[in-house]
């Protein structure tokens, strides 16, 4: 319970800091405390729904949210999620883990080179 709260605090801070859901923090930490990869990713999505709504609300108060642009990427993404979750059930767990690690390396490289 205490570990889950700490995961939430770290995820919430990084989520609002960088405009991401926090799953990049939540999933590895859930794996670290013993979750299986599919449970970790599914539970992460549930937590992110709360995290992102809270973060969007805070930024909306500052007047920084652009709802039309949010719909532009958010609604297509909702369709993509169906594809992603369906695919996830058909790919071996270890393959998902390696793909996830490769994704993180790719994003990190992009951030270090472009940022």
């Amino acid at each position: 319970m205490a570990r889950l709260v700490l995961i939430g605090l770290a995820a919430g801070f990084l989520s609002a800091l960088l405009g991401v859901g926090g799953g990049l923090v939540i999933v590895p930490l859930l794996l670290f405390v013993g979750f299986e990869i599919r449970s970790a990713t599914a539970t992460s999505l549930g937590a992110i729904a709360i995290t992102a709504a809270a973060g969007a609300t805070v930024y909306a108060v500052h007047g920084d949210v652009e709802p039309v642009y949010a719909a532009l990427v958010g609604i297509p993404a909702a369709g993509g999620v169906v594809l992603g979750t369906t695919l996830q059930q058909r790919v071996p767990v270890r393959t998902i883990s390696y793909l996830f690690a490769a994704l993180l390396v790719g994003i990190a490289t992009y951030m270090l080179v472009v940022a």
Binding site: L4, V5, G8, L9, A11, G12, F13, S15, A16, L17, L18, G19, V20, G21, G23, L24, V25, I26, V27, P28, L31, R38, T41, A42, T43, L45, G46, A47, I48, A49, I50, A52, G55, A56, Y59, A60, H62, D64, Y69, L72, V73, A77, A78, G79, G80, V81, G84, T85, L87, V93, R94, S97, Y98, L99, A101, L104, I107, A108, L112, A115
Partner: protein, 124 residues
């Protein structure tokens, strides 16, 4: 960057979200910057865009029986308490510095995930 490309990247972000349990913001933010938003507006808008994507993801994962609700709500509520601090720091610091710090965190995390996957070979 056309709006068609933004839609395509939205679908891709959603697919990654469903596969890996992330919100999709890692693709939303660069996409929104490419269509003309500032860094802060892109981050703020990304958070709103994440909500419909993860709600669909949770609905799908629930049908597979993968969601552990008590853990999800505990993490989510705790995170809501921390977002005010994260937003305040984001508005105060240069984003390029923050991105570099986060990139290092991603690399360390990737190593951890790959190591666990290798160690779990016999059990899966």
């Amino acid at each position: 960057m056309t709006y068609v490309a933004a839609v395509v990247l939205g679908v891709a972000a959603g697919g990654l979200s469903g596969m890996f349990g992330i919100g999709g913001g890692t693709l939303f933010v660069p996409t929104l910057i490419a269509v003309g938003l500032t860094q802060v507006h892109a981050e703020a808008t990304s958070l709103l865009a994440i909500v419909p994507a993860v709600l669909v993801g949770v609905w799908r994962q629930q049908s597979y029986g993968n969601v552990r609700w008590r853990a999800a709500v505990t993490i989510g509520v705790a995170s809501a308490a921390a977002v005010v601090g994260g937003a305040a720091v984001a508005l105060a610091l240069p984003s390029s510095d923050l991105e570099r710090i986060f990139a290092v965190l991603l690399l360390l995390t990737a190593g951890q995930i790959a190591r666990q996957a290798r160690n779990s070979r016999e059990r899966t």
